[in-house]
């Protein structure tokens, strides 16, 4: 069907490497092997991005094989403008997480790297899947390596955090499964996503399925009433875990809304939009306020994630081009920026073994490179013009003004709160008198750490100054999506 199964290769390369890892001898070789595999995967994903035809809204690089024909389950892959972007982001954060855990993970390196490779495969697979069953299998299987990453290599309270993470997401996913099955029977016994899109489901069906999907995705995003697992998971997870969690896993929820809720359940999406917008506005403000009250760096960033993810869901449910493209860009940005922030927290934690904000001060004088890079990411997170965050938030707020004025107001307030806590963090940690936790051994960024930070910095400024390529990439796909929602709904 396709001349070359590039998507399968991108998906299974890390898995294959994971299978070979038990044969690799010592920890050093394991690290290098994993890094090579993920760099290779990144190269493939970049090639995919370059080869992608952004003019077309259709799924590209498609692969389709029967899997369980009796139930209409197929192994179907394909990417559109949205998913190709996230495949790229996932592949990028993959090798960065290996570098980030290069010296931070010293025990059971082999198992760690296997988990990392496995989750990498699964995440890329989720973004490529065009079959609901395949999507679900990968989606839920993702829990396993993440659970292990948090549970084995996490902080002191890791077991609690890992359990909470697993059970929250599992309960949500299982409802998702029921929703999928209802759609399966309503849509003519097929799990093919493209066949399930644009079918005229009865409104009650749509509404119930939407609620089931909402719970699943709201846990993943996370949206406000269901967000309590996130701070625990983030605080306890090792750096690489936090990067992946914030960078990719949280995007899964928003991606689910984009891929399923909007195109498959347009009537219900429109019907529930006010609720979604209200929850998003609540998340923006409430998450921000919680972040303001934190003294643990990781917790602060975790709550800021809740707030930033609120922008994304807000953008999604404005149903206009600005809001949608803002949301998708914000998804990408959040992956880059928050991933980077967690990386930097990890780096500082390696040096000082403290995440207590008041214990720090004047870091920029001690470790200038570190301080400058961290400042850039903080500014990007608070959406300073010229950084990527600005583009995303601006588009979302513009979109929100186009649909629900008061929500846009809330978003502006949220952005201001964001500026408050991020600047506070910036001032306390980087400026002022030099103050370090006891027993700190400071060194500035070394080559490996610079290698992690540079690509992320590039994206921060590239997207901030010249977002056009990404917008072009998304346009055709988002226009089609919008037509699917507005065309049949409202």
């Amino acid at each position: 069907m396709t001349p070359f199964p590039i998507l399968s290769l991108v998906i299974f390369l890390p898995a294959l490497a994971a299978l070979m890892l038990p044969l690799v001898r010592d920890d050093r070789a394991i690290r290098w092997f994993t890094l090579t595999a993920l760099l290779l995967d990144f190269a493939l994903a970049s090639g995919l991005l370059l080869a992608f035809d952004s003019e077309s809204a259709a799924m590209q690089f498609r692969e389709s094989y029967d899997w369980v024909p009796a139930l209409g389950i197929g192994y179907k892959l394909g990417v559109d403008g949205i998913s190709v972007l996230f495949v790229f982001l996932t592949a990028l954060l993959g090798w960065i997480s290996v570098l980030a855990s290069w010296s931070a993970i010293q025990t059971r390196v082999r198992e760690f790297m296997i988990s990392l490779l496995a989750i990498q495969s699964l995440m890329i697979g989720v973004f490529c899947a065009l079959d609901l069953f395949l999507f679900y299998v990968l989606w839920e299987a993702m829990l396993v390596p993440m659970y292990l990453i948090i549970g084995i290599w996490g902080g002191d309270n890791r077991i609690y955090a890992a359990f909470k993470f697993f059970l929250y997401t599992l309960a949500g996913s299982l409802l998702f499964l029921i929703g999928i099955l209802v759609l399966y029977f309503a849509g003519g016994r097929t799990f093919d996503m493209l066949a399930l899109m644009g079918q005229p489901y009865a409104f009650p069906t749509q509404a119930w399925v939407f609620v089931a999907f909402l719970i699943a995705f709201a846990v993943k995003v996370p949206m406000v009433p269901l967000h309590t697992w996130l701070p625990d998971a983030h605080v306890q997870a090792p750096t690489a875990g936090s990067i992946i969690l914030a960078g990719v896993l949280l995007k899964m929820g928003a991606y689910g809304f984009l891929r399923f809720s909007l195109p498959m359940l347009p009537d219900a999406s429109v019907y529930f939009a006010p609720l979604m917008i209200a929850l998003s506005a609540l998340a923006i403000v409430y998450g921000g306020l919680l972040a303001l009250a934190q003294s643990d760096i990781k917790k602060l960033i975790a709550y800021s994630s809740v707030s930033h993810m609120g922008f994304i869901t807000l953008g999604l449910f404005t149903f206009n081009m600005n809001g949608l493209s803002g949301a998708v860009i914000q998804m990408f940005n959040h992956g880059i920026t928050t991933g980077a922030l967690f990386l930097f927290v990890g780096l500082i934690y390696e040096r000082t073994h403290s995440r207590d904000i008041p214990a720090y001060g004047g870091l920029i004088k001690v470790v200038p490179l570190f301080g400058i890079a961290m400042a850039a990411f903080l500014l990007s997170s608070m959406a300073l013009p010229g950084t990527n965050g600005f583009v995303g938030e601006l588009l979302v707020i513009a979109g929100a003004f186009g649909s629900t004025g008061w929500a846009a107001g809330a978003a502006v307030v949220g952005a201001l709160i964001g500026a408050a806590y991020l600047l506070g963090l910036y001032r306390q940690m980087l400026l002022g008198e030099v103050r370090l936790p006891e027993g700190a051994k400071m060194w500035d960024l070394n080559a490996r750490e610079i290698a992690c930070a540079v690509p992320l910095l590039v994206f921060v400024f590239w997207l901030g100054l010249y977002p056009k390529p990404v917008l072009t990439l998304l346009r055709a796909t988002l226009e089609q999506l919008l037509a699917q929602v507005i065309g049949t709904g409202a």
Binding site: F163, F166, L177
Partner: protein, 504 residues
Amino acid sequence: MDTDLIAASVRASSPEIIVIIGACAALMLSLWPHQDQQKYLTWLSLITILLASAQTLQLSPRPVNIVETTYSGMFVVDAFATYFKMLLYLGTALTILMSGKFLQTEEAVKGEYYVLLLFALAGTMIMVSGADLLIIYIGLELQALSIYVLTGFLKTRGRSVEAALKYVILGAFSSGILLYGLSLIYGLTGSTQLGVLNSALATADLSEPMLILATVFLLVGLLFKIGAVPFHMWVPDIYEGAPTPITAYLSVASKTAAFAVLLRVFMGSLIGLEPLWSSGLAAIAVATMALGSLVALVQDNIKRLLAYSSISHVGFLLLGIIAGTTSGMSAILLYLLIYTFMTLGLFAIVILLHRDVRAGEPLTLFSGLAQSHAGLAFMAMIFLFSLAGIPPTGGFFAKFYVLVALIDAGHVTLAVIAVLLSAVAAWFYLRLIMLIYIQPAEPTTGSTAAPATGPTGHARAAILLSAPMRLVLLFSFSGTVLSGIFPAWFLAMARQASLSGLGN
């Protein structure tokens, strides 16, 4: 009944005859004192099972919808029975393979163990092939009697004897209930043959109290055997006390056979009475899942935990009956197959970790396994995730297909309850995985729990993987994984078998 008929009957039941002859041969062999007696007995039993399975396959009906009835309508050979027999061979063979090590550890190497297992196998085979309530009952008794003795096989251990006594009493009690229901059915219809019952009950008045009573007794008797909730209380005690391979056998083969009977009787001949039992069964299924999952949370003995886990799996399986469709039935068949793989795999690991019956099987047995035995730990994790129903393992697909059948039949609410309860159930499997991967090995293992850097670590007394154990693990592991990744083939078998099981 002339000679031809008798010959046909004997031919149809030849797998059962092979197993019984094999059991008798093993009985002879067990009287021959020899150093390698156990090895020979294992081989003999396995060859018997292999022969029987070859014969079963040879007799398997082609095309699949043919039903051959012999022994004056008491015994059928159809695709349904063939599937279940293969499942029982698998379960019994793996049980036999994993018994060797356990019996040595417990110093209870006795030939009669294998004899009784083969007799139990014969009993279960008769159960799944029975087309008459009477022969089903007799097969059940043959199976039960063998298992009673096997449960108390470690007769110097109080727990084993206690379990056996409880099992005898409760087993006899439930058999009595079953028999009573059976006699009422006979009184109402004048027959115990399932085919006759089907037509006799088609016109029956469903509000007739006697019929209700008969159905309830029959159902309760069978629910007792599968350990569904309010009739589950024997399960944990007996699972805990029985020798571990027998626990594995109980939770797999015994349950499989009882489910076969439940399916054949309730989805086949008593399907006309569905209004009488379907809502009650739905309540029982939910209660079974809920109790199994919730009580398992507080267990600290691995065998008791697995007992409650099996109770919650039974609840999930019952949902397939509630769906009441062919796909519900094939969902159960598929589930039982995958359940056999994952449960036996986990039990094999429990046996490997087992040191002494006196020490019991605390959950801490698993702690630190990942450091000392990375491969075993990985397998245990896969089995546990499969039991929890996490993809891409077989356990997920099994549950998935039950849900498909359930939603297809319109029971969405039940499906939602089921998935939420299985999320609860995931908790205790996760707890075990936590122990395996996070907790350091308990200090009582004798050596220091130094963090091992590779598979060569010595955090606990080294576990010797004998060849039979390797075989068990290989089988169950590949079964668990393959049924998750390539479910199509397993599904096709289950669907084919279920086509013939309905309405015979």
